[in-house]
């Protein structure tokens, strides 16, 4: 790169001092190749700027949620490892293979939350539902007849390799999360099968009731309501 090219580069980067900039302006009036280079550079830059597009509105929520899940997973793994270390010391004394298997499964259940028998995608939906602050104000409860109102933006996450779109609906004082996925949601070990079209099941994780319909597209509803009220709440939600 000669001094001429360096000057051109500095000019395009806006880094010429005022005196050099004046000299360069005079040069541009006389030098056809430099004038063309400047015009093409500006045209190319303006054209490339057409490709700018704002991030979709729900992307920040999606990323935040994925990071929060990762943070929660890290804590769970650390707890599990800690308990495993304690457990294996005890098991070495006991010397029972059956006890080892049973204890290993139990030790993988930090706080009874995300469990070995609870598929990651289901646990993620339940955790998302749990993270929604309780709704305030007057209005019918889950047994009422308020029309569902969507809250916020849909959030897309990937949990356990499964891509899930989460939408939140308010029905009176209750907020329900509806998760939709192209893949079926795994059935937790303690879930109850339900009669009806497709594979349907219900389960409970802490305060969250779960209702799943695995059909053409799989739908999992999560809401902080008693198990007996889940089916009526699901019936009031709009089709996914």
């Amino acid at each position: 790169m000669d001094s001429h090219d360096r000057l051109l580069g500095a000019f395009l980067a806006g880094e010429l001092n005022p005196a050099d900039a004046r000299r360069w302006d005079e040069h541009l009036l006389e030098c056809e190749p430099c004038w063309l280079a400047v015009r093409e550079d500006r045209a190319g830059r303006k054209a490339a700027q057409l490709l700018r597009q704002p991030a979709p509105p729900g992307l920040a929520d999606r990323v935040s949620f994925a990071v929060e899940l990762a943070a929660a997973g890290t804590i769970a793994q650390q707890l599990a490892r800690h308990r495993m270390r304690l457990g294996w010391r005890w098991l070495a004394g006991a010397g029972s293979v059956a006890a080892a298997v049973a204890a290993a499964v139990a030790l993988l259940l930090p706080g009874g939350r995300q469990t070995a028998s609870m598929p990651a995608a289901v646990a993620a939906v339940a955790r998302y539902a749990e993270s929604i602050p309780p709704a305030h104000g007057q209005g019918p409860g889950p047994g009422g007849s308020a029309a569902p109102v969507e809250e916020g933006h849909p959030v897309t996450v990937t949990a356990g390799g499964q891509r899930i779109v989460l939408r939140t609906w308010r029905l009176g004082r209750v907020e329900a999360v509806v998760a939709v996925s192209a893949e079926p949601f795994g059935m937790p070990a303690d879930a109850l099968g339900m009669a009806g079209p497709g594979m349907a099941w219900t389960a409970r994780l802490g305060s969250i009731g779960l209702y799943c319909r695995n059909g053409h597209a799989s739908e999992l509803v999560a809401a902080p309501v008693p198990q007996a009220e889940l089916a009526s709440l699901v019936a009031r939600l709009p089709p996914a």
Partner: protein, 182 residues
């Protein structure tokens, strides 16, 4: 580590928009840019403890490009390529420019362009030039940040972006008119 995730999001979420710009152009065929952004943030979060500070958005862009390459390797596809080459004559701006034989490059490029036409011409540039343009002109990184992301001298970045912009303008102009005098 769990307590760090708030600090991590505070430091990195303001740059979501620029990371998305990079992801849109870095994602290979069949790759969802939003998935790539999420993967970028998860990788960055995992490495947050060892991050030494500096430009968070340059750090995120470097992670995004690495994630795109990893995913492309897994899929046996190369990122930064548009697999379907549409003849430039098929572009709307190309047809619109046929009657403007005397128009200069800048006028042709700016008038009547759509983003899709630009994207297709951009895809024809050599990868080093294309990456510099994406980072600087599309995402808005400075030359110094771009140099940091790509691990090359700042002067190299400026030279590449200049060559790339000129070539991009020429490709767009060639699609519309025979090269006129400025």
């Amino acid at each position: 580590m769990g307590a760090d995730h708030r600090a991590f999001l505070d430091a990195t979420l303001p740059h979501l928009d620029v990371v998305y710009q990079v992801a849109r152009r870095a994602a290979g065929d069949g790759q969802d840019p939003e998935d790539l952004v999420q993967e970028t943030y998860l990788r960055a979060y995992a490495a947050f403890g060892s991050w030494r500070g500096g430009s968070a958005r340059a750090w995120l862009a470097a992670i995004c490009l690495n994630a795109a390459r990893s995913q492309a390797r897994r899929r046996h596809r190369r990122p930064w390529e548009v697999p379907i080459r549409v003849p430039l004559d098929a572009l709307p701006m190309a047809r619109a420019g046929r009657d403007q034989d005397t128009a200069d490059v800048a006028d042709v490029v700016i008038a009547g362009l759509d983003a899709q036409a630009v994207a297709r011409c951009l895809a024809q540039l050599p990868e080093p030039q294309r990456m510099c343009i994406v980072l600087m002109d599309v995402a808005g990184y400075t030359a110094s940040e771009t140099a940091q992301v790509l691990g090359c001298p700042r002067g190299t970045v400026l030279a590449r972006v200049h060559r790339g912009r000129r070539r991009l303008a020429q490709l767009l102009a060639e699609a519309g008119v025979s090269h006129g005098q400025p």
